[in-house]
């Protein structure tokens, strides 16, 4: 009897050690506490209960597709929900593992730094992923924000005006430095680029 009990005790102990090590690495790399990470895991699990295992020991390789994640109530009404999820996924298609899921909400939380938020905001608005916000990116952003109720001339005017105002180095598109310069002059950015979970 004893011989059979001991291995299970050891494996349970190893499990708890590895769970707490995983939690510690998550807590070190993101802005969440253990309780919040557990809660996030619960939310991740309820998005696809048959795909995501309930326990957290084996660090499974499952990734949830974009369509499931953008249906979360926090993201459902956001005009940029697809771009947000795509920017945090490793393959660029929006399939998030649990670690990337936590990472996404960590950057969008209250305590993330302004620089980190600026980097990811730039990624979100950069629709064609060329590291510049060109006119097409701005037009797409504007259309998402106004439900396409502006006339094409007005859209053109607004985008032109935005580029004129924010472009410092004169290449007719906004690089990350231009974007960051604009962010530093907008103190509200920290509180508006924020999703509560």
């Amino acid at each position: 009897m004893k011989i059979f009990i001991v291995p299970s005790i050891i494996s349970h102990r190893l499990q708890t050690i590895s769970v707490s090590a995983v939690f510690l690495s998550l807590q070190d790399c993101t802005f969440f506490t253990r309780k919040e990470i557990l809660r996030l895991h619960g939310r991740y699990h309820e998005l696809a209960p048959h795909l995501v295992p309930m326990d957290y020991t084996n660090d499974p390789d499952c990734k949830l597709p974009l369509a499931l994640i953008v249906n979360m109530p926090e993201l459902k009404e956001n005009p940029f929900r697809n771009r947000i999820v795509e920017s945090f996924s490793e393959d660029g298609m929006g399939n998030l593992s649990f670690n990337e899921f936590v990472d996404m909400f960590s950057v969008l939380s209250e305590t993330a730094s302004r620089e980190l938020k600026a980097i990811y905001a730039f990624k979100i608005y950069d629709f064609n992923v060329d590291n510049y916000l060109c006119k097409e990116d701005l037009e797409k952003t504007l259309n998402r924000l106004t439900k396409e109720e502006l006339t094409p001339e007005e859209v053109e005017l607004v985008c032109q005006k935005s580029i004129e105002e924010a472009d410092l180095d004169g290449d007719n598109k906004l690089s990350f430095a231009d974007f960051e310069n604009m962010i530093t002059r907008a103190p509200d950015f920290l509180s508006t680029f924020h999703i509560r979970i």
Binding site: S20, L24, S25, Q27, D28, C29, T30, T33, R34, K35, P73, E77, N78, P79, F88, E90, S97, N99, E100, V102, D103, S106, L108, S113, L116, I119, Y120, A121, Y125, L138, T141, L142, L145, T146, K147, E149, L150, E154, V158, C159, K161, S162, I163, E165, A166, L168, G170, D171, M182, T184, A186, P187, D188, L190, S191, T192, F193, H194, I195, R196
Partner: protein, 582 residues
């Protein structure tokens, strides 16, 4: 990665969190730095030590989170109304923490020792509890530990010798100092983040890229925001087309209107103050129970009605930007409240302190009445301001529309209520308990009123700047005013002879002098006596400190000027480089 090696563990963690890489890369870097690196040192002890420290820190953070109030409600409000309306509720929660802290230390250090020593209050035989005391605060409450007069001046003999005088003085002094420090730190960090480099012009690029509030999750609210943004963009486009220059006569007209409305608002504020003074002077002789409620009633009525007048001025005045309009409204409201408070305090310090035997309890009762009536009027104001506006806007005059939640007016009401509590701590140590109850109920009331009656704000932006201004207003003039009133009372006014912990002394500060004299007998605490005589009582010390602080401020100011110039030069360099290398 190489720079990370040189940092301490805490800075390293912070730097790793700030990296904009995928999670797997961050984990790899973390593993490289912590696990591989520490092979050089004592592997087991160092790693386990730092890990267990971090785990301990995290569990403390988790535990603190379980005590967080109202998380769910905040999320719901933020999701439907946006960050600027949410800032009101966050401010309310922050002020509630001040009051909870105050209540805990007052109750713990002042009231509990007295209750343990002497559990039954010595009430004269013909006074009993009637219901009216809850409103007026007089009568039965006058003889309990609610007010200054209920505290004794003896040294309570028990397990330890507890000196009530020193306890009362130091508890209140320490609380005010800690409050001041907390406010200064919040104000400074808020200025640094939100105010320093803010661009006051709201332009297209900002509207397009920075203004969308990601925390809104309600479908109707999102639709409304999109509409508002579209309207604002169309407005700014059409303004660009016809940028009008005002003629001289129009400028003069605007100036005249501004001058007139400022004179009128200042006159209203001064008039309110004067009328309260005469009302008080005429009425104080009649101390019938219910009539003492007249002055608080008039004060709260003025606080409710006159700001609505000020909002009416907006219809006639023409401001160049929305920000200036809000600033003007805030300044006028602050003037009104400061004048009312100044008149009340002047009356209490000069007339009441001379006339009555147990005058601190009288002042405490007056403050209690003000707090209670102010609460009743806040509830009424919510009803009239929001519910009736909603009814009028939807049924009677659809042109007006559903009202918006007026953040500025509501925050100023909160600041005023908190100032009353801060003034009242010296005269009525348990007033924070009433304030806690008041804020608690107010939170739920405002939340219900908001969700039923109001729509999300139409114009967004500058929420962070308004937040900074409100914290700055809370500190100066309201907290500083309350602190100076309490300091003046403790320094200049003679405590009453028959009641309270400071009876028989010339002024409250002499408690410290008496204590230092007692300490001189004990050889072990000579250093305290030395500090008191050579540091606190000597003028040369304060003079030197002031001089050093002025020099440091001047140096920092010059550094700031230099940095501003540098920023301008760097911006010019970027433009020049792009011209040279297109």
């Amino acid at each position: 990665v190489k720079e990370f090696v040189a940092l301490s563990t805490r800075d390293r963690i912070r730097a790793i969190r700030d990296l904009a890489m995928s999670f797997e890369e961050k984990k790899h870097i973390r593993w490289v730095l912590t696990d591989k690196q520490l092979n050089l040192y004592c592997y087991t002890c160092n790693k386990l030590h730092s890990q267990s420290l971090r785990r301990c820190g995290y569990s403390i953070r988790s535990a603190r989170q379980t005590l967080e109030l109202w998380q769910g409600i905040m999320k719901e409000i933020g999701g439907k109304f946006g960050t600027s309306v949410l800032s009101y509720f966050l401010f309310l929660k922050w002020l509630l923490m001040f009051n909870i802290f105050s209540f805990l230390i007052n109750f713990g250090f002042i009231t509990i020792p007295l209750l343990v020593y002497d559990p039954s209050p010595n009430i004269p035989p013909n006074v009993s509890f009637r219901g009216l005391e809850i409103l007026t605060g007089a009568g039965y409450f006058n003889y309990t530990v609610m007010y200054y007069g209920g505290y004794s001046n003896e040294t309570l003999i028990g397990l330890v010798d507890y000196n009530m005088q020193l306890a009362y003085f130091f508890t209140i002094a320490v609380y005010m100092v800690l409050c001041g420090i907390a406010l200064i730190f919040s104000m400074a960090s808020s200025f640094k983040e939100n105010y320093v480099l803010a661009d006051t012009v709201s332009n297209s690029a900002w509207q397009l890229l920075c203004s969308w509030d990601f925390s809104i999750t309600n479908e109707r609210a999102v639709r409304q925001r999109k509409n508002n943004l579209r309207v604002q963009l169309k407005e700014s486009l059409s303004e660009r087309a016809q940028r009008e220059l005002l003629t001289l006569s129009e400028k003069l007209k605007h100036f005249g209107v501004h001058l007139g409305s400022w004179l009128l608002s200042t006159g209203l504020a001064v008039g309110c103050g004067a009328s309260i003074y005469y009302l008080y002077a005429a009425n104080w002789s009649l101390l019938q129970e219910a009539e003492t409620l007249l002055v608080p009633f008039v004060v709260s009525l003025m606080n409710l009605v006159v700001p609505l007048f000020y909002s009416l001025f907006n219809k006639f005045e023409h401001y160049s930007s929305l920000g200036r309009q809000i600033y003007a409204l805030v300044v006028r409201n602050v003037l009104l409240k400061m004048s009312i408070l100044a008149v009340l305090c002047y009356y209490w310090m000069n007339v009441v302190a001379e006339k009555f035997s147990c005058w601190e309890s009288m002042v405490g009762q007056a403050l209690y009445r003000l707090v209670i009536v102010d609460f009743l009027f806040l509830m009424l104001g919510s009803f009239f301001g929001e519910f009736l506006s909603n009814v009028i806007g939807t049924r009677l005059l659809p042109r007006l529309g559903v009202p918006e939640f007026d953040v500025a007016r509501n925050v100023l009401e909160l600041i005023y209520a908190q100032t009353l509590a801060w003034i009242g701590i010296y005269f009525s140590p348990l007033l924070p308990a009433i304030q806690i109850l008041k804020f608690f109920i107010l939170f739920y009331l405002k939340k219900v009123s908001l969700t039923q009656n109001c729509q999300p704000p139409r114009r967004t932006g500058r929420a962070a700047q308004m937040q900074t201004i409100f914290i700055a207003l809370l500190f100066f003039p309201f907290f500083v005013g309350a602190l100076s009133i309490v300091a003046y009372t403790a320094w200049r006014l003679t405590p009453s002879e028959q009641c309270g912990p400071f009876r028989g002394l010339n002024n409250t500060f002499s408690v410290v002098g008496v204590w230092i004299d007692d300490l001189q007998e004990i050889p072990a605490s000579q250093w305290v006596v030395w500090i008191y005589q050579n540091v606190i009582r000597s003028e040369i010390f304060y003079f030197l400190i002031t001089l050093i602080i002025i020099v440091i401020i001047y140096i920092f100011w010059q550094v700031t000027q230099g940095r501003k110039q540098l920023i301008g030069q760097l911006r010019q360099q970027i433009v020049n480089v792009s011209v040279l290398h297109p």
